[in-house]
Amino acid sequence: MFQTTVTVDQFLQAMVDTFYMVGFSLLVGSIIGIPLGILLVITRPGGIIENSVFFKMVNPVINMVRSLPFIILLVAIIPFTRLIVQTSIGTAAAIVPLIIYVSPFIARLVENSILEVDDGIIEAAESMGATPMQTIWYFLVPEAMGSLILSLTTATISLLSATAMAGAVGGGGIGDLAISYGYERFDSFIMLVTVVVLIIFVQVIQSVGNWLAAKVRREN
């Protein structure tokens, strides 16, 4: 039961890789996805800077990226990946498709959160002559913050789950360890350990997300 071919070093490296992949893709994915989600709200018909050209261009692109199975996405963008990180393998190379996978996902969740902001708030912003940037920054984002945090939490967990597929390009990480040792090498011990670690990760992410959201909503 307790015998395994995975070394402690390997395991620690996998932890590091997972942190790195999730952290980095979440960061960049948010930097891309959050503004994108906001843009989807404000450029839509009736939005504060209604722009049907932008909306009708970006909306399908997001759908397109969202429609590709992760492995296909990963292959499809190899040339792009190489352009960005000079290689198509390893943790760095996994991050590019992860970012591309999570950004539109975040955009959709953000879009949904921002759409829930009361119209009256937007009117207040308009009446003060707020620029679109100010409306976003001082009105929409703060008012949607609780929901945005929960959305990012959801995205982070989906991302963690997607890093498991990073193994395809030698990305490593805990999920890959679970798949390539636990699943493909039938190493039940490492399967158990990795699953427990993943559960703990998710538990922590969700708890932090819930706590922050509740704090923002001033429920605690």
């Binding site: 000079q86 198509s88 393998i89 395809a168 030698g170 890959d176 090498r185």
Partner: protein, 257 residues
């Protein structure tokens, strides 16, 4: 095949070999038996884990890794022609044969109309599976078909109207309860701890389906590549195989016997 980082003049001095490894016995064999030999000769071995053979080949082609020991000739040739790559073998290596294993049925004699048989879905292993099914006389494939490209659609005759389920090879041992038979690649037999001797039928390993050590064409003659080849052919390795292959788990190609 662009953006090659490894500069050729450095090749002569190259002492670090990057190996793309995949789950299964071939990478393990390399690490257990070949790596120590190479290290004794002053080489440093780095490994990069892949779960996808294609990705390992892509990495090999672009020069991110130097060596791969997880595929057969048919596979890399197909990769070459599809991707315009120039991978080449340096030596055949020990190969674990695929076998038909019992699921709900104990023996191939019990085969009946409509039986369900699970085979690996990845092309490299699917090729072996179709070959062994043909060998067992259960199906007939189109003649002159390139084995690595075989799919269900190339079956010209399916005598028992078998329900052939293509699935993840690692899934097959886990699903034997729901299959009448499973065609399981040696690597998975090994990993899953199945008793290889329970196999109902062994494949005859065709030349093109022997595993090979693969490098980029332009590295074929480098010192380090030759060192790898030499390691597989070395007496030390032979002794290792002698010791570790008592139950004939491995099929050892003629060249390195």
């Amino acid at each position: 095949a662009c953006g090659n980082k490894a500069s050729s003049d450095a090749d002569e001095e190259k002492t670090t070999i990057k190996v793309g490894t995949s789950p299964g016995p071939y990478s393990e064999l390399f690490i257990d038996a070949i790596k120590p030999i190479l290290e004794d000769e002053g080489y440093t071995i780095e490994t990069v884990d892949f779960t996808e053979l294609i990705q390992a080949d892509i990495a090999l082609d672009e020069g991110s890794i130097d060596l791969n020991v997880d595929q057969h000739t048919a596979y890399y040739k197909n990769f070459n022609s599809e991707k315009g790559a120039s991978l080449t073998k340096i030596t055949p290596i020990p190969t674990v044969p695929t076998g038909i294993f019992p699921g709900r049925k104990e023996s191939l004699d019990d085969i009946e109309e409509g039986d369900v048989i699970g085979i690996p879905k990845d092309p490299s292993n699917a090729a072996r599976a179709y070959a062994i099914l043909q060998k067992a006389g259960l199906i007939t494939l189109e003649e002159d078909i390139e084995l690595v490209k075989v799919t269900q659609n190339d079956i010209v005759e399916n005598k028992f109207n078998l329900d052939i389920q293509e699935m993840d090879s690692a899934q097959i041992p886990r699903a034997l309860n729901d299959l009448d038979y499973g065609v399981i690649p040696g690597s998975i037999v090994y990993s899953s701890g199945l008793d290889a001797s329970t196999s109902l039928l062994h494949e005859d390993i065709l030349k093109d389906l022997e595993l090979v050590a693969v490098v980029d064409e332009k590295n074929k003659e480098t010192k380090w590549a030759q060192a790898v080849k030499a390691a597989y052919e070395s007496d030390e390795f032979k002794a290792y195989m002698e010791e570790h292959n008592q139950d004939d788990y491995w099929f050892i190609p003629e060249e390195i016997r």
